[in-house]
Every structure is written in C-alpha cells, then in structure tokens.
C-alpha cells in the first residue's frame, strides 16, 4: 500500500496526487491515440459515441451528481446544440464558431431553465425538466422555418483548416476525444475551486450553504448553465456523427440514457461519466449480438443436447422472437437501473474502488468496510 506524505498545500491541489497517476493516465492517453490504428472502424465509431455520451455524462454529473439537481431534460439541451449546429451551417459559418455558439446558446437556455427550477426540489424538479424536454421536442417539430419539422435537417461534414473531417474518420474520433479531455479537465478544475465546493454545499445542505455566504440561487443557475453548455457542445458533435437530425431522436428515452450513464458509472466522481458511457454505448452491440448470434447458438446447443432438427428450428425461432422483441432495450435498461440501485449505488467506479482497496489491503480487507451506515436524520425545516 502506498502512503502519501504531504508536505505542502500543493499536495492537496495538484491534478495527479503522485507519479503513479501520471503513468496510468499517460498509458490511457497512448491507448486512445493508438486506437484508430488497431481497432475496427465499427469500434472506433462506438468510441465516438462513448466520448459524446461521456461529455453529456460530465455535464450531468456537475448538475445532478455535484449540485444535487436532478434533470431529465438533457436530451433537449443536446437537441438545442445539434440544431444550432445544423442551422448555422447553412450560412457557411466555420466549425469552431458554430461549435462554440452551440455551447454558448445552450448554456444561456440552460440558465433560463435554471430560474424556474430554483424553487423546485427532488421529484418536482425532475417533472419540470421533463416538461422542458417535451416543450423543446414540440418546438423542434413545429418551428418548420428553422428546424424543417419532422423532416429533419441534414448536417454537412466538418470543414476545418482546409480539410474535411468525415464522421467516420480518425480525425473526427480525435476531435471528440479531445473535446472530452478538455471538458473533463475543465470540470476537474471547476470542482476543486470555490464554485465546485459551493455546488457540493448546495447538494448536501442548502440551509448551511446560505449561512456560509453562498448565493444558492446564483450557483444553481450557474450549475444549470454550465451543464447545459457542455451538453450543447456534445450536441454539435452528436449532429456531425449522425449527419441527420430530427426531433424524434431527442426523446425522453435519450434523457433516461444520460441519467443511466451517471447512475451506472457512479454519480460521485467524474470517472463515473466515462465508465457509464462505455457501458451504455456497449448495450447496443450487445443487443445486436443477442439478435444475430444467440438464437443460432441456442439451437446448436439444443441439437447437441439431443433435440431433433425440427425442434431446434422452433427453439431458434422463439429465441429470435424474444431477442428482437420491441422494447427489449427498455426492459434491459429498467432491469439495469434496478440492479445498480439495489446492489451497487456507487456505480461501476464505486465497485472499482472497492476492488482496488481489496488488493491494496490484501489479505486484511474486511467485508464490512463499505457496509452502508445509518445517517443522522437531518432537519429539512429551513428549506
């Protein structure tokens, strides 16, 4: 086990507490850089989605994980970013400009949404954000002069520095990863500075935050704006990846997927956003695998166990029906949410920390180390 001897206040501030972290993240960076040369184009495309989901995950972590304001409206923020991109492209605006405008505009709308949300807590805030998302969806479908309604909008490839960056090129992959890394670094900086601490204070006790001189309303609006702005940036990348956007892509289901990213990843650390994004994006290939390979495999297996050819064909048919049933994705999501809330509320990153501690303390790890403790009842009167 490694013991850190702190001799300077800097030891608690720096990005990497010790050299081990530099090695870990250095290796990760090399792997990310090397991926396009090694992995298939399908996997690279999935990694692009991972990075976009992770960016939204970071945004949602800042708002929900650290400020304690739940939101089911992030698909709408993503949509605003995506539509800003598609709209501005029509006038020949260069990529860096409309990319930043997408973030800025979404941030402003996020702040506007933040204001009515000031007086709402918990489930009521969730309902308010859902209604916001529904309103945005409806506007996108009806405001045809700008959004082309349900026909949707086509998004042109990125033109930058005299070259084009097609959506399945290595260049686009690097762009998305670059944005993700910059967003994560910005978020880390924010969270280790006074604003980040104010967010955590609001999450844990608004009353105490007020009496420590924190302007709770201002910081909630800030949190909404920052979260929305980051999501807007992700929306721009999302639009370029899909090359075509229409209102039905930004439904409640997508917002739920984003919530799942942080729920499954672990809502208490930025690591959670990335781990959760990997998990959620990989559900799709897993479902394809279910549809394509599982029925045949089960049929073969039943043949092996002595079933006749006719029987095996029937089994293959019925498994295929289950594997390609409508709503299977939703069912799997629901099951995952329940399983994580029940068995691992700290998410994948929490599980990883436990595994790490197990090896650090080996053979002295106690099973009760992470047993959930009773928490003192807190007064909610002054809310």
């Amino acid at each position: 086990m490694k013991f850190l001897f702190k001799t300077d206040y800097e030891d608690d501030i720096r990005l990497f507490p010790h050299s081990g972290y530099l090695w870990t993240y250095g290796t990760l960076l090399v792997l990310i850089a090397a991926a396009p040369f090694v992995l298939s184009s399908y996997l690279i495309s999935q990694l692009v989605f991972v990075s976009i989901y992770a960016i939204v995950g970071v945004a949602l972590l800042i708002l929900t994980g650290f400020t304690g304001q739940a939101s089911l409206g992030h698909a709408a923020f993503l949509a605003i970013g995506a539509y800003t991109t598609a709209y501005l492209q029509q006038f020949g605006v260069p990529f860096p400009v409309y990319f930043l405008t997408a973030g800025l505009l979404t941030g402003i709308i996020g702040a506007i949404v933040g204001f009515p949300a000031l007086r709402l807590h918990g489930i009521y805030l969730v309902i308010a954000t859902i209604s916001f998302a529904l309103i945005v969806e409806e506007i996108l479908a009806r405001w045809e002069s700008v959004t082309h309604g349900n026909e949707g909008l086509r998004v042109k490839t990125i033109q930058m520095l005299g070259t084009t960056v097609p959506r399945d090129s290595a260049g686009f992959y690097y762009l998305c990863m670059g944005v993700l890394i910059v967003v994560i670094l910005g978020a880390i900086n924010l969270l280790r500075s006074p604003t980040g601490r104010a967010f955590v204070a609001i999450r844990d006790s608004e009353t105490a935050a007020k009496s420590m001189g924190i302007n709770v309303s201002l910081y909630k609006v800030k949190s909404f704006a920052i979260s929305a702005a980051i999501t807007g940036l992700a929306g721009c990348l999302f639009a370029h990846k899909l090359t075509f956007i229409s209102p039905e892509m930004f439904t409640l289901q997508l917002s739920i997927e984003f919530i799942m990213v942080i729920l499954i990843g672990g809502a208490f650390s930025l690591h959670g956003a990335v781990l959760g994004a990997i998990f959620i994006v990989m559900v799709d290939p897993f479902l394809t695998f279910l549809k394509d390979d599982i029925p045949g495999a089960i049929a073969n297996f039943s043949m092996l166990m002595g079933a006749g050819a006719e029987r095996a064909a029937a089994i293959e048919k019925s498994t295929a029906a289950v594997a390609s049933a409508n709503g299977l994705k939703g069912a799997i999501y629901g099951f995952l949410i329940m399983a994580f809330i029940l068995f691992e509320p700290l998410g994948l990153y929490g599980r990883w920390l436990k595994i790490k501690l197990f090896f650090q303390l080996f053979p002295l790890y106690k099973r009760a180390t992470f047993k959930r403790q009773k928490i003192y009842v807190k007064s909610e009167r002054n809310r």
């Binding site: 206040y9 800097e10 608690d12 501030i13 910005g186 900086n189 924010l190 280790r192 500075s193 006074p194 604003t195 980040g196 601490r197 104010a198 955590v200 204070a201 999450r203 844990d204 006790s205 009353t207 105490a208 935050a209 007020k210 009496s211 420590m212 001189g213 924190i214 302007n215 709770v216 800030k222 920052i226 208490f268 403790q373 928490i375 003192y376 807190k378 007064s379 002054n382």
Partner: protein, 252 residues
C-alpha cells in the same frame, strides 16, 4: 450605539407568537447567552438573525447597518456566522472541504479563472488553506482533516461545525446549542474554546444553550425567554435566580 441590536423583533406564525417584541443589544466582544424552555423562541431568533425567516415586525442592526432585509447569503458576508442545533454539515464532503466552504465569502475568483485554474486561483486556494489550517489547529481537528463527515462521531461533527463557522472569519458568531449531545469533557473543551474565541480572536458570541453550568461559565450576560417574550436579562446568576425564570422552568 451598540454593536448588534434587535428592536421589537417579532415572528408570528398565524396566532402563534414564536418571538414577540424582543429587544436586546450586544456590545463588541461580549458573550451573550439566550436560555429558555423548549419552544421559547430561541432558535427562531437565530433563524431571524441569519435571515432564514422574515420577521413579522421589528428591525435588526449590525455595526450600525440595518440587516433586516438582507438576503441570507449576505449575512455571512457582513461577518455573521452560525452553527445549527441539528448539525448542518456537508455530509459527503471531507472535513477539509467543509471548512473550505466556510472560506467562501473571501473567494473572489471568476468562473473562467476557475475553469482554467489560473495561477491566481491556485494562490488564493493556498491562502484559504492556510487560514483553514489555523482554525484546525485552534480546535484540535488535525486527525480528522481528510475524513468524510458521514463517518465521523457526533462530538467531532459538532466541533467541525464550529470550525466551519470560524473559517468565515466572523465578527459575530451565533452558536445554537454548542454543547448538545456532548459529554462532560467535550463540553469543558467547548467552554474553553468559546472563551478563547472572545479573548484571542475578538469574536462577539451569541449563544443558545441549555447547559446552565456552561452558560454561567462563559457568558457575560444572559437573556431568559419564554413564549417568545423576554423574561429577564442580566448577569448569569441574577437571571437564574429570577422568580419568573424559575417559574418558567419549574412551573409556578
């Protein structure tokens, strides 16, 4: 003019007069205790001063400035800090981060500076940390620096809350039952700290307390309250033997 003053302070919830025309004034560097049976309106006065409640009528003055209509967050900026009866700490943050939140009123960096973590932010962080370390030393919290609040025992939480209030570098501190839930030894420590806050840090202390031994050990003056009204005011011994106060506690 007095340092802190409440004029005809009232808080009515419909027909219930939680605080009823309370007048009191404090001098700079004084330790004033408010005593009274449960429901006498002690904590309500605190919530009025920290502006969590709006008074029905009456006015509050601090350093000759009226604070009756200030929003709650600017009360801390004026130099009034408080602790809570039921402990309102930031449960899932470390002791260090809790105390650094106390430094919030001295933070000046802008959002962009923080996102880029400019050298000025780094410099300020170290200054804040240094101030926090002074408070940690003052209250002997060194062993708990990196511990998360949710894993700390009650007695330590109580001290951390006091520490967080001190980190704001207050001029006036409001202590809501500082000794509730503490054992005899911890209560003795608390009484020393309250005296030291006055003598070493020059802080004016307004305190709600039930433990009479602590009250008489530390306070310069005592106010007795019942049904939102002031029963008696004066030296600790005087107030404790006042017939109305005895009647309020024991029943007449």
């Amino acid at each position: 003019m007095s340092y802190f003053r409440a004029e005809n302070l009232s808080l009515h919830f419909g027909g219930l007069k939680a605080v009823d025309s309370v007048n009191f004034a404090m001098e700079k560097g004084e330790i004033l205790s408010i005593i009274g049976p449960n429901g006498a309106g002690k904590s309500s006065i605190f919530n009025l001063i920290s502006r969590l409640y709006d008074p029905t009528s009456g006015r509050l003055f601090f350093e000759d400035q009226e604070i009756t209509h200030e929003p709650p967050y600017s009360i801390a900026k004026l130099g009034i800090a408080r602790t809570f009866q039921n402990i309102e700490l930031f449960e899932n943050a470390s002791v260090l981060n809790n105390l650094l939140v106390g430094r919030h009123r001295h933070c000046t960096s802008s959002l962009w500076q923080e996102i880029l973590y400019m050298p000025s932010v780094r410099r300020d962080e170290k200054i804040h940390r240094h101030k926090v370390e002074q408070v940690i030393e003052f209250l002997d919290l060194e062993p708990y620096r990196d511990r998360v609040i949710s894993g700390l025992p009650y007695g330590v939480r109580k001290v951390v809350e006091l520490a967080r209030a001190l980190c704001t570098e207050p001029k006036l501190i409001l202590l809501d039952e500082p000794s509730s839930g503490l054992n005899v030894e911890e209560t003795t420590d608390m009484s020393f700290w309250i005296r030291d806050m006055k003598s070493e840090l020059g802080i004016t202390v307004l305190m709600v307390e039930h433990d009479m031994s602590l009250v008489s050990r530390v306070s310069d003056r005592v106010i007795a309250l019942n049904y939102g009204k002031v029963l008696a005011m004066g030296q600790p011994a005087e107030v404790q033997s006042h017939p109305d106060v005895v009647a309020a506690y024991l029943g007449a």
